[in-house]
Subunit: 383 residues, 4 copies
């Protein structure tokens, strides 16, 4: 019964996130990294239909055979898929049809969950719920992008405040050299990329107790940080020049004042808030300008119990690679994480839009270095 | 009063065309040439607000000052405009807000038209109505593209038949050499590009009484017309190879049968219907393969009283260039046609989705050679 | 014997044009429109080998069977060809090998021409010579581009003066309305696109006796012509903004002075010289700014005996289209001109680098509207 | 004196590598990753002129002030530079002029080296020589690309054999879990990216004593390895499909036989030779198909004394990241390595074209995952 409640809670939360939207907002895809909200709602449903209901629940009737084609994302082993850049051209299925699809699958799932399920399927169910939680975070980030790139800059929710700083002063947390255990251990859920707990040898280092604030980052901007190649990776510098980057995403300099687009629309920047929506290149350049560096993911994890985290995903200096002994699961589920282990950087922590209880200190998020539409921030380290 | 009735009729027709759509269908822009239906509805309204109500009607209150930015299309003299490729990313203004915009402008226009209007403004009003009629044709072509490129291939209207052939046999209409008058003459409305009536000297020629049919075009396909460079312009041949073109747009070869997407969804091809959705390159290649050629726009116009036309826009062998004495009107209206007079080909006639009474034998339509989403067909000529 | 002398003269002239080059200059292709000089030398030779020697001269031994692949340009019917963008990557065959190729083919051709040749082959020979003359003009334009886009801006020949104005004052030549004969007539050589002499009805017009000068064009620049959309075609305006065009090609504003790259390297602009290296967009915008227009190719030809021409190719307002009755020749030779008859504009006249006696008043040159690396200028007309 | 001899040896070797080239081969740049040989010859010379002669040698006369612009590569702090994609368009300076440049700089350098040099400058000199050695390897790889992508496929040297297998049988070298020291230690030269010797904790693993052979890799091809997404990273799979990759670079399937382009031209593949010219994606996919994995760079270094290496650069599963305590040197030299530490993978070992004594077991080479024009191969590992 607990699984049933958990299922209902997670599923309902996805729709709650979308509740302030107009129908039109569910449809568009302004850049390739963003997916239309209705696609997220369909895709997470497709996961339960494809991997749980169809293979395991006798008598289940597929909602629409064509939906596999529309809502598959990357699962090469489960048939053709709509290429990602085309998602924003799909006016059908309509939002209403997708909601019917959700009702159809939820009905079958809830019926199935009302009785004890085979223990072997529980991990798959939990994976499906965590998968939907990941898409809940993407729903927030993609909705912010869609509304924030509309020339009318409509608010998402006039009553939703942006995240506030916790007010703690910045300190350096000293960490001794030593051998640290890294990776997930325990009985709860974790993703496959967290497994393979292993020892990592770290030298003596210190890590900041607080993330970099807007005020901190403004100093970098005002000091000409975006115009001095010395702080940048070569490809970061190309990115800055080619795309004419001058500030974090959603920042606008209007009438002599820095403003940012947020849940309430355009608002003046709050200096004390942690800086958000920066790329890995910007995070690394800021650290270099300041004379420090980003922590590795191992340094971050080893020290994570000693500082507050959770408002921003924090870029680390670690590339996303398999832990020792990493093994792909067989079949389509095996495509989950391993195939992305090249050319991405690890982020640790959680953001203001990460679902409650979804993250943990061993959680490995990952994105390509130039991306900024996630709620990404900066924590400094030094040796 | 006649103008008021005309205004109401035209404005209502735009909304009728959209009536089978779902809200989501109004939003998307699958390729750069297609505009979202809601953009057409807003843009045509913006025309009346910007060029008639704001400069001429005392006391008119602009609906929303930001709409100028969103709904301007190409009018460089009327402020910044949303670049064309971004239109499909605009979830706001919503369809409902655009309908309110239409109500707001219609209310003011109808009030203004309920009394005699200054004679000097009548041409501008008529231009606005013809402008909306042009966008009505684009609404049809863009809606067909949006639905026809959705993997679900939803019908637009299951009861709407595709156009049928008129059943007349093909004949060659013989036209003597001579001097012919070309261009509009009369008191009715015409576009600026039809003016400058002038004499054109034509040699002896013949023009077909009927357009090329699906059956005719299938012969070209089956004879390998798409794989033999000899029939193609050099850039047409590049287009065929690069884009792997093998048939007209919306044609699909499924289970040994040619089908096409139309108003009722996917349907078998009717051999006797006039071929549709071909590019200039395909039209010219077909003519070359057949040993004939396309008519010039002058040959077409000189003979237009002698054959039926109106189901398909017909590609001519004429580039879109100014007639002798062509003058741009001053101001933004002057941007209407002249600035497109390079690198496009003239089409003559009208299509099944051209509004009633909108076309005439001097009407000059124009598109770039590779485009196929209009209802374009082929008529042959020979010397 | 006359043909033999003509052959020798033409062939030698190609090599003379290249004589100031270093070996490295023969190799590069800085943009797709430019071909490496060594490619021109090989391609013109390949023409004689492929179309004359191989099919017609018994005992001729092909120089190298792989050269067909390397030196074919657009002739789809004569086997695969190196795609145009790859030409600049071909370090082999070397310049020396290509010169040996020329010697080999010249030896066979000269032997063949030392006796009377079959009359049926004479047109093909003449075509080959005119073809090489066309490439001689391209050799000049491409060499200028290669050297003029090198950061060292080396001169081609320090002793070669740029073309000077003839000093005649500007006058309007009045041309009465009437029927004019257009197209080539006579016994000399002409290209297939000039044939089909036919009557064109022209209204009353006037055409300038002189081309637009650098001083004239500077007025346009100084008056903000490049920053006012009203004078430009829509796609011309996009071109200006996207490519940040601010002056003709090869013009540089250095230390408060306009200079241009020419045969002698960088030199101050001579105000009285005819403006050169402008695109069709710039020519049309200049004319629009001045309140005039470009002549059609028919107006140009009808008046050509009344003014001096030949320093610059002159953009006309005519698209490159077939004359009435135009027929492609059968076989590969038929690919010569017809397949380019879309999306290009006609230029009339000749330039300072057109071979002597190569042009005539019926000659139809053609290029795409944005291209500027040819020696292109402007002559105005008015109605 | 020893430094003088070393200088002469290194400098002479660069020119020896180029000696089989024709002048034209020095000029071209078929893809952005390849530089023209003459650019390498100029750039390595510019390094000595800019960083040693100009700041440190009184009375030295710069060869040509414009060369800084032409031969700077990535050093943002030393003035503007020719963007990389333009290098192949530079016919000037000519090869002869660059050879004069080399003579000029060598003359000054040799004079300077004939007396004792300030000890503080010795590291910079040694860096310059190692820099030139790196470009010697690039000269080989770029020359192979230039000749191997010419349709005539000319040999580089008909007498130069491709590398042969050493004939040792494949074995698994067992490595115990433990703490290993990683990074350079000693008094010799190393690059900054090897410094920061530190401890790495490794689990128990085994590494192959031999690289993967052509015969091994053919099994992967024949088993459909290139057509089964399960073995590939997501972006590797996109790369395979988009670029239609079916075999290593330079492999051609001709008349039922696999051949490869090598120093002697096109030759049948030798099954026992180590496979070469594979991307990281291919290396990782091969390992996955085989049920193994690539070693990390730490596993490689820890075991390097136990196997033969040096014929192929070996892809590791490690991203190119700074070692703990990595510090950029100040000034332009500081740009050497650090700014490339994102989105590249580490390769260890050396190749058949690495200069003698240039590599060592701590050497960290790095390239982007899809690149194949280096002499890259595969060594397997397992846990």
């Amino acid at each position: 019964m607990e699984l049933l409640e958990k299922y209902k809670t997670v599923r309902e939360r996805s729709e709650t996130i979308c509740s302030p939207l107009k129908t039109e907002d569910y449809v568009v895809q302004p850049v390739v990294d963003v997916s239309p909200p209705k696609w997220h709602l369909g895709h997470t449903t497709w996961f339960f239909e494809t991997f749980i209901l169809q293979p395991n629940v006798t008598g289940y009737t597929e909602f629409d055979p064509q939906y596999n084609f529309v809502f598959n994302s990357y699962y090469e082993s489960v048939g053709s898929r709509v290429i990602r850049t085309d998602r924003g051209n799909l006016s059908r299925p309509s939002v209403e049809e997708i909601m019917q699809y959700r009702r159809h699958v939820d009905h079958a799932m809830e019926k199935w969950l009302s009785k004890p399920i085979p223990p072997a399927l529980e991990p798959l169910l939990i994976l499906g719920l965590n998968h939907e939680e990941q898409h809940q975070e993407l729903l927030y980030t993609d909705i912010k992008y869609i509304l924030g790139h509309n020339p009318l800059m409509p608010p998402y929710d006039r009553n939703r405040a942006t995240i506030a700083s916790n007010g703690h002063p910045q300190e350096w947390i000293d960490m001794p050299a030593g051998i640290y255990d890294i990776g997930y251990q325990g009985n709860g859920f974790c993703f496959d990329n967290e497994l393979g707990r292993h020892q990592v040898s770290l030298g003596h280092y210190a890590i900041s107790s607080t993330p970099v604030s807007n005020a901190d980052f403004l100093e970098f901007i005002n000091a000409g940080g975006y115009t001095d190649f010395r702080y940048w990776h070569a490809e970061g510098w190309d990115w800055v020049k080619t795309r004419e980057i001058k500030a974090p995403l959603y920042w606008y300099y209007i009438d002599g004042q820095w403003q940012q687009y947020g849940w309430q629309g355009l608002q003046p920047i709050k200096p004390e808030d942690p800086v958000c929506h920066v790329s890995y290149y910007e995070a690394a350049a800021y650290a270099a300008w300041k004379g420090f560096r980003l922590p590795t993911e191992f340094e971050w994890e080893a020290a994570a119990d000693k500082f507050h985290w959770g408002q921003r995903w924090e870029w680390t200096e670690s590339a996303y690679l398999p832990y020792p002994g990493f093994k792909k699961a067989p079949g389509a589920i095996g495509e989950y994480n391993g195939k992305f282990m090249v050319n991405q950087m690890v982020l640790r922590g959680a953001s203001e839009v990460t679902p409650p209880d979804h993250s943990r200190k061993t959680y490995r998020n990952f994105f390509h270095p130039p991306l900024r539409w996630q709620f990404t921030g900066i924590r400094l380290a030094k040796s």
